[in-house]
Amino acid sequence: MNIDQIKKEFPIFDEKIQNNDLVYLDSANSSQKPKIVVDRINEFYTKQFSNVGRSVHYLAVAATNLYENTRTSVQKYINAKHKNEIVFTKGATEALNLVANTLGQSYLQEGDEVLITELEHHSNYVPWHFLRKSKNIKINFAEINEEGEITLEEIEKKITPKTKLISITHLSNVTGAILPVKEITQLAHSKGIIVVVDGCQGAPHLKLDMQELDCDFYAISCHKMYGPTGLGVLYGKKKWLEELPPYQGGGGMINEVKKDRISYGELPNKYEAGTMATAQVIAFDKSIKFLESIGIENVMKHEADLVEYGQELLQKNNSVKLIGNPKNKGGVLSFIIEGVHPHDIATILDEDGVAIRAGHHCCQILHDKLNIPASARASVGIYNTKEDLDQLNESINNCKKIFDL
């Protein structure tokens, strides 16, 4: 696999960012886009545009087919059993809200418990909090260990007879910990508990096999997966998506509408009310093709090498303290520098063209637990090289110099 070649497929790296070559280390936030994805959006709007699923004219039919092609590609990519288990949303956030809302309407009862973890992104906490308010459900938190991991044992310890649902991240966007989702699911199912997975960080970086994982729901963020913004995927087991009520009402999701009654459409239309992010869905097919052309095993190998290399570099850099040290770790390096606030780090690194994120990364619970207000985070994607991490380290040294450390 030739990373230089792969990097050339991303037009952004031809740009000078404030006179610097871009060292993009913010892929956990959002990935850059390969040219084929950008071109596909352009091509669809210039040559093929029509709304989908509404009209019978040529363009509408062609656009509908393209739209549905992506659904099939996603199904294959994540090895879902049925095509109708793939629902497009506006992002992973909406996917998780859809699950919480519909389960809240029809399945979870007052007093039921939902188990999440201290690693969760706000989008896998706040939707459950809504149910805490509206339905009086209780939220429990599985706690991280010293290494910033969530173990199967910890999950087991936190399950009570009232636990109805477990909602967990596949890969932490702060510590990088990869959770034992398959084992957690087996355990949960043996007790009749539903499993929801926030797959935002898992989907771009790990091999996905829904039938093997066996979770009930899996949320994906397409913009982190070399795809367009404004798009997410919700995988849900067919029996759940059939059983649960619709989320939003409007055009496209109905079967029959009368003054005194309404019946809803079949899957997947039932969950895709209104005009969807058509161009994004169609272009996302190219993101999947892009990932397939490299091969997820190669992606995983490359990113694992990068993380190991980056981790060693930063561990050797005194005054840098890495957050979490999980055995099973994805491409995220979160750190603090004693004496320099993460925002100052990010501004100083930016001056060298090194793009990282600073803040709590939408994980305030975790930062509270670690007793830090914020952290700096470098995260990798397929286009990153060891030179990028060398530059990160060098810019960190520059930052230390400015702060006289």
Binding site: G339, H341, H343, D344, P373, A374, I402, F403, D404
Partner: protein, 154 residues
């Protein structure tokens, strides 16, 4: 404008060793501010005397060098001013941080102006402007005794 100009000695000095980073004993005005995007938070305390003059100002909280330095310099120079003067200085500072080339308030000494102008570098970093202004907005709400926590929006 470059980083050196932003992270000048005075900012680093105040950022690392902020003045008045404590809680004023017997304060009679206070307010909290936070920056939801970054997780920065600050609590400003004021003690006004019978003539409504700031006898003491202090703050607690955590944040970047810019926000700490800004709060440090602010709490230093606000001492001895009355509410009207303080608010005019806030207006002047916010104007400068956003667009005005210089500070105009007659209530600021040349030395105070020089110190505040050290923060003018953040103009070049739009995402950081809110770091510099958080403590100032929070002080205004302390004066006004608004119960709502201040949230920055540049």
């Amino acid at each position: 404008m470059n980083l050196k100009e932003l992270y000048q000695e005075i900012i680093l000095e105040h950022g690392k060793n902020p003045r008045n980073l404590r809680k004023t004993e017997g304060f009679n005005k206070d307010a909290k501010g936070n920056n939801p995007l970054c997780g920065d938070n600050i609590h400003v305390y004021l003690k006004l005397n019978g003539q409504k003059i700031v006898e003491d100002a202090s703050f607690e909280g955590s944040g970047c060098a810019i926000s700490m330095a800004s709060a440090s310099i602010m709490t230093d120079l606000i001492k001895g001013k009355n509410e009207h003067e303080a608010k005019e200085i806030v207006e002047d500072f916010l104007g400068m941080i956003k667009e005005n080339p210089e500070l105009k308030s007659k209530y600021l000494s040349e030395d105070e102006k020089t110190k505040l102008m050290c923060l003018s570098g953040v103009k070049q970093y739009p995402m950081r402007v809110k770091c510099a202004t958080l403590s100032w907005h929070t002080m205004v709400s302390a004066f006004d005794e608004e119960m709502e926590e201040v949230k920055t929006e540049n």
